[in-house]
């Protein structure tokens, strides 16, 4: 009984302790001129889908949920966003060479087609980010057109 109490206190102290560890927050008000939406003439439905389903991890501005203020959730999200931006950052689109754009568009199509993106761990909480079959089709069709026009 006493041991359980000690363990409980230790856990609590650790949990409180890690709240002081800071994480990098991915937030910016500036939409750079290199943004995907500015470089390309994106139709509204496609734009909406991409912003709701992709931009949280693939741009410089994450729309954070309230629980991101709590550790260890913040760590988990920080890692996710960092990886996502490294792979593809829609805000940096204008800086990508045509070779890279072609590669990225191909990957976007393939990931959406195979339901690998948006990640299940993300859509579980952000149910609005889940792409409906219809939206998937609209996005894939338009991205394919863009890729073929490069």
């Amino acid at each position: 009984m006493k041991i359980a109490k000690v363990i409980g206190w230790v856990l609590l102290i650790v949990l409180v302790g890690i709240q002081f560890v800071s994480t990098t927050r991915n937030q910016s008000d500036i939409v750079p001129t290199t943004d995907f939406m500015i470089v390309n003439n994106v139709p509204k439905p496609v734009e909406n889908s991409l912003i709701t389903s992709c931009y949280d991890c693939h741009s410089n501005n994450t729309n954070y949920p309230w629980y991101n203020k709590v550790q260890p959730v913040a760590w988990f999200l920080e890692g996710h966003v960092e990886d996502g931006k490294k792979e593809l950052n829609f805000n940096e689109w204008g800086n990508y060479s045509s070779r890279r754009r072609n590669s990225k568009l191909k990957s976007i199509i393939s990931q959406i087609e195979d339901d690998e993106m948006p990640l299940t761990s993300y859509t579980l909480i952000h149910s609005d980010a889940q792409l409906s079959e219809k939206n998937k089709e609209i996005v894939i069709k338009w991205i394919t057109q863009l890729k073929d026009s490069l």
């Binding site: 990098t24 203020k69 060479s97």
Partner: protein, 216 residues
């Protein structure tokens, strides 16, 4: 009850501390990015070692044979990449995901070691672009399942074809074409043998495809 009050107090303090630190963090990220840029520039600054610099050599001697030597050296620079690429292609022909992943990893290293310092400025820009793109595809091949490996191999093939169009190659290579892959848009690949062995479909359709052109 009194025991419960203490933790809530600490928690409240924690939240306040978090809010205070969050502003600082955004700045920190920007600084990191700057540091990264200069680091990269420095790296580009002294890539120069290993191969002899021809600009300091006697002008009279800069004849045809020297030009040939330059071309050979350039081809040598890309030979490791081409070697890994061909090994990767063979792994995909054999439907061997593990082997492909292993070569993918090796290819990342070869791409990293590629020395572009002896090419002219315009070529260097193009080469940087190719190497960056190819590295991403190789990284993905190292950790994907077979279908994805093949998708990445498609774009990687384009990168390697463009690479050797700049560096040249000493090997005799065949540029092959599979009309079915990629939703029937087709996909190219390079092979060291004339016989068609399709890396996009492997055992399912190993002889599907045709030679587009012979290089060397």
């Amino acid at each position: 009850m009194s025991k419960l009050k203490i933790p809530t107090g600490i928690l409240a303090m924690a939240v306040v501390a978090l809010m205070a630190t969050s502003c600082k963090d955004t700045k920190k990220e920007n600084n990191n990015e700057d540091a990264h840029h200069t680091e990269q520039m420095e790296e580009n600054g002294h890539l120069d070692d290993g191969v002899q610099d021809h600009s300091t050599m006697d002008h009279d001697k800069m004849g045809l044979s020297d030009k040939m030597m330059d071309m050979n050296k350039n081809a040598m620079r890309s030979s490791q990449i081409v070697g890994d690429y061909l090994e990767l292609k063979n792994a995909l022909v054999a439907d061997n995901k593990e082997a492909a992943a292993k070569v993918g990893e090796k290819l990342v290293g070869s791409l990293e070691n590629f020395d572009k310092s002896k090419f002219d400025k315009e070529q260097q820009g193009e080469l940087t672009d190719i190497i960056e793109d190819a590295t991403e595809h190789a990284e993905h091949i190292a950790k994907s399942h077979l279908d994805h490996q093949r998708e990445h191999f498609d774009v990687l093939s384009k990168d390697v074809i463009d690479l050797i169009s700049i560096t040249g190659t000493k090997k005799t290579l065949y540029q092959d074409f599979c009309p079915m892959f990629n939703d029937k848009k087709g996909a190219q690949w390079l092979s060291a043998t004339k016989e068609i062995k399709n890396p996009y479909y492997g055992s399912k359709m190993v002889t599907c495809g045709s030679v587009q052109k012979q290089i060397n």
